[in-house]
Amino acid sequence: MTSRRRALTLVAVLAALAAVPLAAAAVDEPFYLDLFGRIMIFAIAAVSLDIILGYGGMVSLGHAAYVGIGAYAVAIPALHGVHSAWLQWPLAMALAGLAALVIGAVSLRTSGVYFIMITLAFAQMLYYVGISIEPWGGDDGMRLAQRSQLGGPLDLGDPHVFYYVVLVILAVLLLAGERVIHARFGTVIRAVKSNEARLQAIGVASFRYKLAAFVLAGAVGGLAGALLANQTEYLTPSFMHWTRSGDIMVMVILGGMGTLGGPVLGAAAYLLLENVLSAWTVHWQVILGPLLVLVVLYARGGLWSLLPGGGRRDG
């Protein structure tokens, strides 16, 4: 897909998302605001995973941990009376990024299967830590005292305001992502996936770049977590469970990994599918499971590749 086409497609997607509140008001179903808000938040998490997975080839099965950390980084200060988003959200990103730094520093020394298993194990470790710490709700989780305060007219308690704030964050992320992918940093990360041995032979010490990407992805995941906590106003350690990591990964793959728009489509497809299927049967996962297997086996490029002009990846 040429970059022009890609840009246009992304703009179209964002415009569609921007129109949702209007459509929701027209049919008087505020539920859609919630649903699409959730989609966008997971899209943010999925895009952050795509940076390391789709572009860097690092199969991290522990990404949900960073989302969880971001969520707790909002809820715990709120518990102690700190409600400013300008404090909470940067804190969420910093803590998640720090966790990614530590986990990445250990995990990135391995590769292949070991890497997958280790990222999974570390993330699960954080989950177990989460359920053991009673003051923060333990297994039952905790409520968010109130939504983060942005100050001024931006009241996140208003569903419309919240929706557009999330949309703006997603748009900024996509824009930044586009720049990063084509900048020197993104080129190195893509080269890691393509042929890391060659990259080192020409003189790039790839470890530091992989770690940096890992930290960046973790930090953005933390931001997604902060937003998620605000949306659900309730959080549990299950946010960090490895099956959540699997969900996010599914969104990336379903939408098309190695593209920025793909994860957005994937998040939408996954959550919409969940919504539709669960209306039919409470056992909807029995359909999702094999569906996922089929997609992996036969439709590797994901939804993005099905769009006109799709197929060729970024690069």
């Binding site: 299967v113 070991y114 499971g289 590797r300």
Partner: protein, 298 residues
């Protein structure tokens, strides 16, 4: 401490199958935990039908073996050629499927399997030291399986094929061995082992959807520590992990309480205890990234 051994043995049963499958077929199978779960459910079901514990065990084992081979033939065959990411995703899909399937058939509530009366009660191992018969039996069975595996892998023709297949797949195929059949058999065998772990675990831990995944993480830690593809590594790793985890949970809080306030120990204790095996894994990886007993591969 014996509980640690028992947990270790349980981990070994599941780990052995997983590491075999990975070592020989280069397949990451996240759904291995689902086979463990299936074994447990089958055992409960057959016990309900036949009323005989012995029959339930045999039938559950066979059923899990069959399920394993079916899964291999239907879903996993195409994955051998694919990269690990595809395998992770596809087997993740299988997990979702199986968890939901057992929920459909048996409901979401936890089932309780009871220890058969013959195996209830305690056995006196040492003067003053009583230990539940059932758990002791698990340890014995586990060790027996380990011995059996050792004999099969190192002394029999099948074992030789397995070892050869692990180090050079194309060569073995070139020698005219039916690789597909070998893979199906190995996978089924691994599934049966996991099922054995599951059916023995039933009475002690609860039988519910998702029970496989909890164990799976620990199994992965075991394999990483022990070395992928190595049965010996799986055994050592499993026992180490089982011990560390159990001892850690029992002793860490009291130990902490001697240095910090009881309230802090109360909070931090369980949290740290759950982190122990992961810290252990990180440490092993730092010094020996291949695990303790890496299987030689070509």
């Amino acid at each position: 401490m014996l509980n640690g051994l028992q947990l270790g043995v349980m981990l070994f049963l599941v780990a052995a199958g997983l590491t075999l499958v990975f070592g020989i077929m280069n397949l990451i199978n996240l759904a291995h935990g689902s086979l463990y779960m299936v074994g447990a459910y089958f055992a409960v079901a057959f016990l309900g039908w036949t009323g005989s514990f012995a029959a339930a065990v045999v039938l559950a084992l066979l059923a899990t073996l069959v399920v394993g081979m079916l899964v291999e033939m239907i879903a996993l065959r195409t994955l051998y050629e694919r990269d690990h990411l595809d395998q992770v995703l596809a087997t993740f899909g299988l997990i979702l499927f199986f968890n939901e399937l057992v929920a459909i058939v048996w409901g979401r509530a936890a089932l309780f399997a009871t220890i058969p009366p013959a195996l209830g009660g305690f056995v006196e191992l040492l003067p003053g030291l009583r230990y539940p018969v059932y758990r002791a039996l698990i340890i014995l069975v586990g060790l027996a399986v380990a011995l059996l595996l050792y004999v099969v892998v190192s002394r029999t023709r099948l074992g030789m094929l397995i070892r050869a297949g692990a180090s050079n797949r194309t060569m073995v195929a070139a020698l005219g061995v039916n690789i597909r059949l070998l893979y199906t058999v190995v996978f089924g065998f691994g599934a049966a082992l996991a099922g054995l772990g599951g059916l023995m675990a039933g009475p002690i831990y609860t039988v519910q959807p998702g029970m496989g995944e909890e164990l799976l993480i620990e199994v992965l830690v075991v394999i990483v520590i022990g070395g992928i593809g190595s049965i010996r590594g799986a055994l050592v790793g499993a026992i180490v992990v089982g011990m560390v985890d159990t001892l850690g949970r029992t002793f860490l809080k009291p130990m902490l309480a001697t240095v910090v306030s009881p309230a802090a120990a109360d909070t931090a204790g369980p949290a740290l205890a759950s982190m122990l095996i992961y810290i252990l894994m990180a440490a092993v990886l730092y010094f020996r990234p291949q695990g303790l007993f890496p299987a030689a591969r070509s």
